[in-house]
């Protein structure tokens, strides 16, 4: 013990005090500058890698098919709007967007309307097996949609619902209702129960209380729930394609069938991709603040 003690002391004393501190400062600056660079680099790289495919998609959508296939250009050499023109003039293209929007909106409305009372029950009442039921709801999301494709197809054709918008909207509810319940329950539990009671004491009936007092308080939760329903329903391909033929065919299904007699139309496909991203981007822009709130509540 004594030897190590002495050794440590002589080691520290060997350096003159001035040099000692200078070395320390140098070490510190080296450390600081060394830490600084990768810190900034990582997010930059991350964003570049994220945006690169999107940039390439936008880039392609303004090119002609010959340019896409023959050369590598970072910026379109002969920018063209022909690809977009094709989509906006051909009903078999643009009806895909219309169909998608119809069943997505239907699904959002149904999911939120069904989830609101369910979430209220879960957040305000204790009943036998409430926790298990809540968990069971969530487990519905754990199975991949492919599992449900065949039973849904059988069931919906038995009821003659194949190739209708409502079929897709209802099928997506299986995934979206549990999610909406989960999100809304979090927001509702953030509202003190005393507000409900005060409303009853003041003489509000339940429906009046729910629509006039309660819904405004969880408006952001409703927004976030609707957003997540939108996102799932908008990008989901398998079930939507299985349940539709022509009348309600979604854009994502149309995009998988662009091989025509003249070969693959790359430019139109890229333009369709860009147009598919836009609605999602717009919705995210509107609900971005609410989503942050949802994260703060531990949901989403």
């Amino acid at each position: 013990m004594t030897t190590t003690d002495i050794g440590a002391r002589t080691g520290a004393d060997a350096l003159p005090p001035a040099l000692h501190s200078e070395a320390a400062i140098k070490a510190r600056t080296r450390q600081a500058s060394g830490r600084f660079r990768p810190k900034a680099l990582i997010p930059i790289l991350y964003i570049v890698f994220l945006l690169l495919p999107i940039y390439w998609l936008v880039n392609m959508s303004f090119k002609t098919n010959t340019e896409i296939l023959s050369s590598f250009t970072l910026i379109p050499a002969n920018p063209t709007l022909r690809n977009y023109e094709v989509i906006f003039t051909d009903p078999s293209w643009y009806m895909g967007y219309v169909n998608s929007i119809i069943y997505v909106v239907m699904n959002m409305v149904i999911s939120v309307a069904v989830a609101l009372p369910a979430a209220y029950a879960f957040s305000r009442y204790r009943f036998l097996g409430d926790k298990h039921l809540f968990f069971w709801l969530l487990t519905n999301r754990m199975a991949p949609p492919a599992v449900f494709a065949l039973p849904f197809f059988q069931l919906y054709s038995a009821f003659g619902l194949i190739d209708t918008h409502i079929a897709v909207a209802l099928a997506h509810c299986l995934f979206n209702v549990p999610l909406a319940v989960w999100i809304l329950e979090g927001f509702m539990s953030g509202v003190p129960k005393e507000i409900d009671e005060t409303a009853y004491i003041d003489g509000y009936s339940f429906p009046r209380f729910f629509f006039k007092i309660f819904m405004p308080l969880i408006a952001s939760g409703i927004g976030v729930a609707a957003f997540f329903c939108f996102m799932f329903s908008w990008v989901e391909l398998l079930i939507a394609r299985t349940l539709t033929v022509t009348d309600a065919k979604p854009i994502s299904a149309i995009m998988t069938r662009t091989v025509s007699a003249s070969g693959m139309d790359w430019g139109v496909l890229a333009a369709a991709g860009v147009l598919t991203i836009i609605p999602g981007a717009i919705v995210i822009w509107f609900v971005r603040n609410y989503i942050a709130k949802g994260f703060a509540l531990g949901r989403v």
Binding site: E194, T198, Y200, D202, I213
Partner: protein
Amino acid sequence: MLELDDVSRSVGGETHISDVSLTLARGSLNVLLGPTLAGKTSLMRLMAGLDQPTAGRIRMDGADVTGVPVRRRNVAMVYQQFINYPAMTVYENIASPMHLKGIGKAEIDAAVRRAATLLKLEPYLDRTPLNLSGGQQQRTAIARALVKNADLVLLDEPLANLDYKLREELREELPRIFAQTGAIFVYATTEPHEALLLGGTTITLSQGRVTQVGPTADVYRRPADLLTARTFSDPPLNVLSLEKRGGVFASTSGFRVAVPQRFAALQDGPWQIGIRPHALRPWSGRPEATRLKGRVVLSEVTGSQSFLHVDWDETRLVALLRGVHRVEAGDPIELEFEPDDMLVFSPDGRAAQACASTPLAA
């Protein structure tokens, strides 16, 4: 008149309220006093009709209202947390109970403005509650309760979350504001001095039971049992276990205090003596006073008062002394009290009857 008849409520095998019988007159001010978890809120919820009793009946003006939902009773309630409708302005908040009753616009407007003036809310009528301070939020809730003109007004520790000055102000105003409406006014609090300042009738609660009902000053001066005395004492009541031997109460260690005249007829034997902290004073040397010699454990000075925690004869005493007394921990100290300030309880906690004529069961 609100009558509770042997009302009990238990939830999941746990008794929250047991066998409470009360009669509250119209226009009366009633203070529910008890520590947290004593059942104040549970009892208020039963009175309001938010919860239903598991046993017993509740009658309002003679009509049985047990099981009648709260919507169909004319009650108002203010919670400890500031509960308003965040999506509405202060004006709409105050107006909302009248709106639901279908009262005309002009009448509502007049009532809202009157209440706002009374509670100093006029400048904030167009704001939403969350943009107000805590005191203003609570006054909004009180204004909403006021305009409703309810038969029963329940205030559940309404001032507990407010700052000191506002609390003083509102405590003074509240009973006055509601007295004009002729409602049954129930005010829950954990603080004994708040009950004393409010006056009226005090109902002391302990573990879901009513321990005593009576005019506030009477309950304070003559608690019916040790539980009530403890509830109604802040800082906590000092309790000495002494034995009566003829004309003195004595401890095993040799401490003796003369039995006051009014307790002279008590049986010899063990008694519990309650001494309120403010009844203890520094020893003055007067022969009528009784001296306690102890050792200071902790002293806290709060501006004009000093709290001394004193070890005396294996008992921890708290003394509330006027003025600043700087005493180091471990210092010996001599305190005194007047034998007349003693509260005397039997070993099972019942108050000894002060009048000598009544024979006593020990």
